[in-house]
């Protein structure tokens, strides 16, 4: 009988089995952590164990320069509370009228590079946890809103949109952008224009000229 007891394999209880599995899993975790930390310490390009600064990303783009998507002014997402609105017009224009909840980030075409500003805004965007960023500008051609949206996309922010037509499209009471004058004037000898001739401003050609971008 005593021999039988010795030869019969002892089946571990269910509890002991579970405890054994959990113990083994804990050992694997400890070993993995030790290996990970050791390898990171040895690597020349190891990363910090505790990240101090916010990663300035919302969702990174694969391209270094982003390609923001255009959005119509009447798109429902413009008024969605999960959208972060950026108004890139001048402070004066922003003070005159703005979309509710919009932040002002003036864009100066002739100013210094705005890399730092873009990074700052990118961090703010990441911290805001907004689902998307919608930029609107002067609606001119080129549109400052679209340009800022490109910069923001280039700063590894995805889900960036711009409002087609900018602020004037959002608020039709705002003055339309005048645009720049044409670069080249027709080099034809000046002829006295006849009243009512095609191309005569009095003949109503100004409506079309307003649509054409320089």
């Amino acid at each position: 009988m005593s021999e039988l007891k010795q030869t019969t394999p002892v089946q571990p209880s269910a509890r002991a089995t579970v405890v054994g599995i959990v113990r083994d899993a804990a050992i694997v975790m400890v070993v993995s952590t030790a290996v990970a930390l050791t390898v990171n310490a040895v690597r020349s390009e190891g990363i910090r164990l505790v990240q101090q600064e916010q990663y300035d990303i919302l969702v990174p783009c694969p391209e270094p320069v982003g390609d923001p998507e255009g959005m119509k002014a009447d798109d429902a997402r413009v008024k969605d509370s999960k959208s972060l609105l950026l108004d890139v017009r001048t402070k004066e224009e922003f003070a005159t009228w703005r979309m509710e909840g919009a932040r002002n980030q003036p864009f100066d075409w002739l100013g210094p590079p705005v890399d730092d500003e873009v990074k700052t805004v990118a961090r703010q965007v990441a911290a805001s946890r907004a689902q998307r960023v919608i930029v609107y500008g002067d609606g001119d051609d080129p549109d400052s809103g679209k340009e800022w949206a490109k910069l923001l996309s280039g700063a590894r922010i995805k889900n960036v949109f711009y409002v087609e037509g900018g602020a004037p499209a959002l608020n039709p009471s705002l003055p339309k952008p005048e645009g720049l004058p044409p670069l080249e004037e027709p080099d034809e000898p000046s002829e006295p224009s006849e009243p009512g001739a095609p191309g005569d401003e009095a003949g109503g050609g100004s409506a079309d000229s307003g649509k054409e971008a320089p």
């Binding site: 599995i21 990240q51 990663y55 990303i57 694969p62 946890r129």
Partner: protein, 162 residues
Amino acid sequence: MSSSLAWRGHAWISLVVRLYLGGVFLAACAHKILHPEVFAVDVATYQFLPLWSVNLFALVVPWVEAITGAMLVLGIRVRAASLLIMGMMVAFMVALAWALQQGLDMSCGCFASQAAAEDDPISWHTLLRDSVWLVQSIYVLAVDRDAIGVERLLGKWRKRHG
């Protein structure tokens, strides 16, 4: 129930599942171990973990994947390995569901960095894929009590040689 779990065929089915699951995890850990700084950005992109834990998570998880993947393939403590994989799958699925619910248009970060966002964007299909792996890990945990592999061979060798 216990008799169905004790069926000997489970060991062979589990072997196939283990090789597949282990291979998946070994493949998944490679780029994360080689480029922890990129994987940390991937983790941060989910906006799920607090900032202080992002780098630690990015450093440790790939090694857990590597070691558990190797354990499954080799047949060493497979139930402990599958328990850890089960835990990781649950964690990944929660983060994935959260990101999908937030409407984040991003890469899974499972097998490549965010730079491959267009190749492996997150979707409900990703969640379904992960749930299949979760079920597989539960299967191994539940049935593979005497896994075919290195550990079993060592046990037999010990019995023979006293």
